[in-house]
């Protein structure tokens, strides 16, 4: 009896908290289907999908999303590739170099990225890398690299060395065993790293905002400002519709990761230390 009362109390308290968290998102959903949307949250008098059809053009939606995809996929690819290569010797060979390196890398995870944007801008000007998609990808991949190396090493440590030793006996090289034995066994972990980096890059606003100048290269996070009209008027409904279309891919990706392997899995990779 006492237990079930405590349970109802917990349920009610949680629901109140949940409603508070959902409230700011309600506006986004309602405004998207309201042709006359403002900042007020209200059930649209005449709901329609006109906002969505208005933003679904190649210039407004297509190109920015494509840019977002190229940036995010490129970042995740460079990141995972560099992280796996670095993790292999760190996980497989004992060396005096390992420990100091891993702790330096860990220290790197604590660098506030927004703090280095001013110097990065200065550096990019000096090296004439401003407005370069490739340079932006390499920079973004590097900002998440420390965490990715740390996670990749932890995942790799769980793959038993004996499996590889047998293949080495047969004359296979390290790179071959990495590709044919280690990577398939840690595929799930790598998938998690890839998707987490992808989600982070997809949502990143500040980095492309500073480093990519021409509209043709800007990802959705930056192009969203086109709804703050040059004519002073803000197209609230279209802004909301665009926001939803831009957010859906990462929401889906996140759902896939968390359903497939559980947050605790990714978390343990990052936290195990």
């Amino acid at each position: 009896m006492k237990r079930s009362r405590a349970r109802v109390g917990a349920d009610v308290a949680l629901l109140v908290i949940g409603l508070c968290f959902a409230a700011p998102l309600l506006w986004l959903v309602l405004a998207a289907v309201d042709p006359q949307a403002g900042y007020q949250t209200k059930v649209p008098p005449a709901p329609s999908l006109i906002n969505f059809s208005a933003v679904m053009t190649p210039e407004l939606l297509g190109r920015p999303l494509l840019n977002s995809f190229v940036l995010s996929a490129g970042t995740a690819l460079v990141n995972v590739l560099a992280a796996v290569l670095a993790a292999y010797p760190l996980s497989r060979y004992r060396s005096r170099f390992n420990k100091p390196f891993m702790y330096t890398v860990l220290l790197g995870t604590s660098l506030p990225v927004t703090a280095i944007m001013v110097p990065v801008y200065g550096l990019f000007v000096q090296l004439q890398l401003l407005d370069s998609m490739a340079a932006t990808i390499f920079f973004m991949a590097t900002t998440t690299l420390p965490m990715a190396i740390w996670m990749a090493k932890n995942f790799m440590d769980t793959v038993p060395l004996e499996l590889e030793e047998a293949a080495w006996m047969d004359g296979a090289s390290n790179l071959v065993t990495l590709r044919t034995i280690v990577l398939p066994l840690m595929g799930q972990g790598l998938g998690v790293v890839f998707i987490f980096v992808f989600i982070q890059a997809w949502g990143n606003f500040f980095v492309p905002f500073i480093l990519l100048l021409s509209t043709g290269k800007q990802p959705a996070a930056v192009s969203i400002f086109s709804f703050f009209g040059q004519h002073g008027a803000i197209a609230y409904g279209q802004l909301a519709a665009f926001s939803i279309l831009y957010s859906v891919p990462v929401l889906v990706l996140y759902a896939v990761v968390s359903r497939g392997m559980g947050n605790s899995f990714a978390m343990s990779g990052a936290m195990k230390g």
Partner: protein, 289 residues
Amino acid sequence: MKIRRLSRLLPVAPAILLLLVFLLAPVAWSFYASFTDAALTGKAAREPQWVGAENYVRMVTDDAFPTAVWLTVVFVAASAVLGQNLLGLLIALLMTRSRKSVSDWVGTAVVAAWVLPEIVAAFAAYAYFNRDGTLNQLLAVLGTHGLDWLYSFPLVAIILANTWRGTAFSMLVYRAALANVPRDVSEAALMDGARGWQRLAFITLPLIRNSIATNLMLITLQTLAVFTLIWVMTAGGPANASTTLPVLAYQEAFKFGDIGYGTAVASVLILLGMVFGAVYVWLLRERRA
């Protein structure tokens, strides 16, 4: 033999190269530029002059910098250490007792705010705290007069918004931690007549203290770097009332074109991050030893 051992380390090279070029070089450049009068445009952009500690002297004498430090401390303490951390712990604790359907639904709502792209979350928060926004509509239902939050209480608005945005991380950390607390430990305490909060204070919390320490370090670092949320909601205003260090560094460098001063502020922020990072690394090492 030596060459063989070195060649084994070769795969680490791309990662080291990236870290040197894109992380270490900007950090080094930041410290260097903070001692110059580097500017965004004009002559000082092409040939920056060495000005010694001038930028740092200006920091101490200028009002904007001490204000920004104070605002940053309040912002981090209120939205991360108190807001995200305590709310995340509370949600995780409630979830251990509640119905699964409820905790699933609430978990989704909390996580949604965290997974959304930062610019979208920032717009949603901006609309929510707007004079015509949802919060004032809710207050009107309760019969209270609304306020212009973003103008009159910008710091409160960004603190609440950042708590909303980031609590999911603490919740996930604490859910994972609480799942590892053996059930019979807390049940034994129950048999001994330990009351709920005593159980929490003397049994549960000590058992998850490592997770608490790690979580506090990570959310402090994340919150220290928050820029987009503040920039979209208040742009640091009105009149510097919500200008935290990252916003100040951005404004000085890109709005006023003073890269030298901007990098000086950025350098302070980098040092701050490094101090917290060093404590974090030390905590992890202690735990392993």
